[in-house]
Symmetry: C2
Amino acid sequence: MTARRGSGPTMHDVGKLAQVSAMTVSRVLKNDPGVSEATRERVFAAVDKLGYRRNQTARSLRLGGSGMIGLVVTNLANPFYSRLALGVQEVATEYGFRMLLSNSAEQAEREPELIDGLVDHQVEGLIVVPAGSRQQHLAAAMRHVPVVLAARPPAGLDTDCVLVEDFHGAREATACLLAEGHTRIAFLGNPPALYTGAERLRGYWAAHEEVGIEPDNALIRQGLVDAATAERATLELLQQADRPAALFCTNNRISQGAIRALYKAGITLPLAGFDDFDLSDVLGLPLTLVSYDADEIGRQATRLLIDRLEHRDTAPPASRRVTVPTRVIRYGSHSEHGDGPGHPPAGA
Amino acid sequence: MTARRGSGPTMHDVGKLAQVSAMTVSRVLKNDPGVSEATRERVFAAVDKLGYRRNQTARSLRLGGSGMIGLVVTNLANPFYSRLALGVQEVATEYGFRMLLSNSAEQAEREPELIDGLVDHQVEGLIVVPAGSRQQHLAAAMRHVPVVLAARPPAGLDTDCVLVEDFHGAREATACLLAEGHTRIAFLGNPPALYTGAERLRGYWAAHEEVGIEPDNALIRQGLVDAATAERATLELLQQADRPAALFCTNNRISQGAIRALYKAGITLPLAGFDDFDLSDVLGLPLTLVSYDADEIGRQATRLLIDRLEHRDTAPPASRRVTVPTRVIRYGSHSEHGDGPGHPPAGA
DNA sequence: CCACGATGAGTTAACGATAACAGTACGTGG
DNA sequence: CCACGTACTGTTATCGTTAACTCATCGTGG
């Protein structure tokens, strides 16, 4: 039953069966008005009988435009990026586009070939979460199709992007901890070379300055890349003589590593961090999380992209920068602070 | 800078610049031996200068085979499916295929059009996690390309599939709880119309029979579709006069809902369930989780598919069924059982 | 000195669909 | 009765690439 290479029937085959030319078949399928009802029915019957489907590849070639947009994310296993992908797909579908997805696995060196591959497949536009700080290959891609960056801004590139309120969110969450009287807040961050890492550190720092406190450099750990490295860094901090009174984590994986370290050490500390995550509400820890809608980043990025596609001819407006808002969510009791067994279940 | 519709330079343009025909450009890019070194260099120079990239759409049309495979999942936001997608991508890339991804959002009625769309885009094969029990549309797709099912078996279809050891895993996890002396184990399951729901219930039941216990029907809740419905069902069970002594959940979302209910009720019960999830190890609950490698499902499915693609011509072997093994993981203390505050931190 | 193979490069046609153009058949009004 | 519009359908050429074929040039051996 499985068709062989080069696959199924063509319009010509359908036409032969319906005793018309391929052109008439094309017209029927395009809902062109100038076809008699009798012919139309014969064609549809033939289409059904043969299980015919239009060859989108041939249409793309003839009509220009593949109906596909490319998405490159750094780590699809992270719920953040899978939600972003869903947002992209949602809007893309709405406008009749399909999504070709690549995962760079956070390996910046693989990104250029992924992008070239997508361009080769004639995607009409690209949405990219850039893995590294070098973005020269993106400039190359922009010679072919419009590119929108997500979650990280362009570096030396003139293109649209969608960002989170990194600075503001970090500042606000840190301020919450400071307002509760915690002055020794450790900072657990991803590599500062990444925009989000740098911005969120800036927010952490700004919150301290606003209350006239200078952060202790001994409490700042950067360059953490996953939950495991974050866990190790946290354990080190906890074993220091002058232990931090609270933690600030720049993303969900780092928060999870820190939480694991706290759990293993049998210590409860207030923790603030970027990204909400599953079950954060049932940990019984005093959490202050900067939450935002990852889907929305994908949706906005796709809208920016499609807007450019629909105005290909007109002079492109200046590159735009859209920001997705954050809001702070708090879980667990925030009255107590210091050590002690955690997980006080809320009232039944 | 952004190119207009119909986009970039063609082989003809490259040829003009390099003072050769398009055919020679094609030969150079294909690494055909019969081209002089001088010509080869001129062509490469022209390619670089123009930023030329081969049009994969035109190649697909000419050569047959788009180099793409389609993946349809039910919910990309579930880490299970995003990992599955990563597994697909990994093997697909290895064999030079790209992945066109669609998300059915668990709406079975949308699935046919998603699949048709992928077929239209000339995917060479499909990997599908079917959303519903009706699979007639898959038979239609199989007229065009080979189809491999993932996580759920074919119903009235002759095609390859990759499954998890649903029955075995459920039986084993339930048996763990029973071995500890819990006899009243609640069952919280997804709709029984789904294969996984039915199989896992069967495993739960079989484990009871093996120790000569008949499950109490009053403790069985099926048809749960997400964490919220699972949470409500669990709260109901907990308020029953004859409360369950342990819980069995058929997937990660249901486990999470149940855990949320336990937390809100201030009750700790042993919980068994399918799928491991982030932070399961730090909840301090006695958990018995059936874990397996979702990536591996994707990898195996892709291998089955590509195997068929590479043997398109030869008589297809009978449809194959591959099973991915499960293993039971246990977290938290399993000595105590009954009520009481949870989260006893492990030693530092 | 010429036939012939090797070498390098161009021409033609086709993949499948479709825009643009070109009929053909019919009816209507002058 | 014929010019002309209307309704329907067929032909041709094209999108960008490439398999298969053709063609020109050069060197070599009989």
